[in-house]
């Protein structure tokens, strides 16, 4: 039975990828590797552990930052929480709806205009029975300040404009669990401040924010708790200032090879 005081509970999350699948990705590779080593057909070549025993809970109103070097497992955790990945080990209890925005999801339909993209994304992310979708779209257009660019195909947008468009929509209505994976990087400081205010308002409505960034000031601006991730494990869980100190300390003292 889950504890309802938490919106999100992550218990013993483990995720491993079979290495052979990544090494052998074409029929040619498969043919050559089988010829070289026929026994490889019948035995596993080991696996890469992306996540190891991840445990944490999130209470209403918490703004949790995920910090770590590239490949540490931050986005993988986000994708597990948002339901894109179904990890074979562990359990994720979500006591509410999840809305996630990843950096790579910004330019989804490049041939469509900003307005059309908003319509498609709104239909996917919002329930028409619960939300007034046309109103959300209009409000998002206004918030994004894209004005006349809103009817231009988004392939002509800069990264910052794409960010404004997506974030305006995704942050229009409170979500129980809002995941923002490296989406602030590229926004100008004025819009970031505007967005940070909006996210603070969202949090007031009992949401949890999972926030991934490599920028210290973004983490300090948004988060009240930071998890330091290293090689798929949580090695620190605490205040953002302390987590940043631990991050510096850890990676200033380890060699590149270890990272």
């Amino acid at each position: 039975m889950s504890d309802q005081k938490y919106i999100l509970e992550v218990k013993n999350l483990n995720l491993a990828f079979p290495l052979r699948t990544y090494r052998v990705s074409t029929m040619r590779d498969f043919f050559i590797s089988t010829l070289k080593n026929p026994s490889s057909l019948f035995k596993e070549e080991g696996s890469f552990h992306a996540l190891r025993n991840i445990n944490f809970n999130a209470s209403p109103g918490e703004r949790i930052g995920l910090l770590g070097v590239n490949g540490a497992g931050k986005s993988t955790i986000c994708r597990c929480i948002s339901g894109f990945y179904t990890p074979p080990g562990g359990e994720i209890v979500r006591n509410g709806n999840v809305r996630a925005l990843f950096e790579s999801s910004l330019a989804m339909f490049p041939e469509l205009s900003g307005r059309e993209n908003l319509k498609v994304l709104a239909d996917i992310f919002y329930d028409p029975e619960k939300h007034d979708i046309p109103k959300i779209i209009e409000e998002s257009i206004e918030f994004s300040e894209l004005k006349s660019f809103i009817d231009v195909p988004i392939k002509a947008y800069s990264k910052g404009m794409l960010l404004r468009l997506s974030l305006s929509l995704l942050s229009a209505v409170p979500a129980d669990i809002l995941i923002l994976d490296e989406v602030f990087d590229g926004a100008d400081e004025f819009f970031r401040e505007k967005l940070a205010n909006r996210i603070r308002n969202l949090i007031k409505n009992s949401g949890v924010v999972i926030f991934v960034s490599h920028q210290d000031h973004h983490l300090l601006e948004v988060c009240d708790r930071v998890l330091l991730i290293h090689k798929g494990s949580i090695i620190f869980d605490g205040a953002p200032e302390d987590a940043l100190k631990a991050y510096r300390l850890k990676f200033a003292t380890v060699s590149d090879k270890e990272i």
Partner: protein, 221 residues
């Protein structure tokens, strides 16, 4: 326009240049070529769809198979509109049996199911073997000549007839050829059973593949 132009060029090449003496050759070609083009275009466009749409599968909460359904449906609308247009032309101007129009829907269902299943199967397999799309494209181009589309099965020498006549893709096309050439209902019924058997086979194949890869798909795209 693509299927109509391809059809027009082939009719011109075979009836005017090669001067094929085959009764209702244009109708026969239509019955095989259009469904064939629908299969080939759908499989070709769908094979790489999961790999090419990796960012959508990883970032937008939509069922991945929807991508395949949309692509096949898009091709199907193309195919069906063009096909109906030519069939209506033949009914009006070439006195084709109009009753045959009603039966066309039966093999069309089977064709749609088989094509969707094949598209799902190859698109999933392509996630594991990224060069599969080249192989699929090559094999289908060979199969075009090994399937009675622009020639009749009756013209195939006896010792090859069993091999060419049992091509599973031919089973999908055969009912169309029989309907448009108004062959007897006994042959038609047998062809429909064969056609749906092929559909069911590909559906099972796609279902097994989907069951095996469903959870891992997002990791590999």
């Amino acid at each position: 326009m693509n299927p109509i132009l391809t059809y027009a060029v082939q009719v011109f090449a075979f009836t005017t240049i090669f001067q094929v003496r085959f009764p209702h050759y244009a109708v026969y070609l239509l019955a095989g070529l259009f469904p064939w083009m629908f299969i080939v275009q759908s499989v070709d466009m769908c094979t790489g769809i999961f790999v090419n749409s990796g960012s959508i599968i990883k970032n937008i909460p939509i069922p991945p198979l929807l991508l395949v359904y949309v692509q096949v449906l898009d091709n199907f609308i193309n195919f069906f509109c063009a096909f109906l247009l030519i069939v209506i032309y033949n009914v009006v101007f070439k006195s084709l049996n109009y009753m045959s129009m009603f039966y066309i829907f039966i093999p069309t269902v089977s064709l749609l199911l088989a094509t969707t299943s094949m598209s799902i199967f190859f698109s999933l397999l392509n996630v594991r073997f990224r060069d599969l799309k080249f192989v699929v494209s090559f094999v289908f181009s060979l199969l075009f000549y090994m399937t009675p589309i622009f020639y009749s099965i009756d013209l195939v020498p006896e010792n090859f007839k069993k091999f060419i006549g049992n091509n599973p893709l031919y089973f999908l096309l055969k009912p169309f050829q029989q309907i448009l050439l108004s062959e007897s209902s006994e042959f038609f019924l047998k062809s429909i059973v064969q056609s749906f058997s092929v559909s069911i086979f590909f559906m099972i194949l796609a279902l097994l593949c989907w069951k095996k890869m469903r959870k891992m798909l997002v990791f590999y795209v």
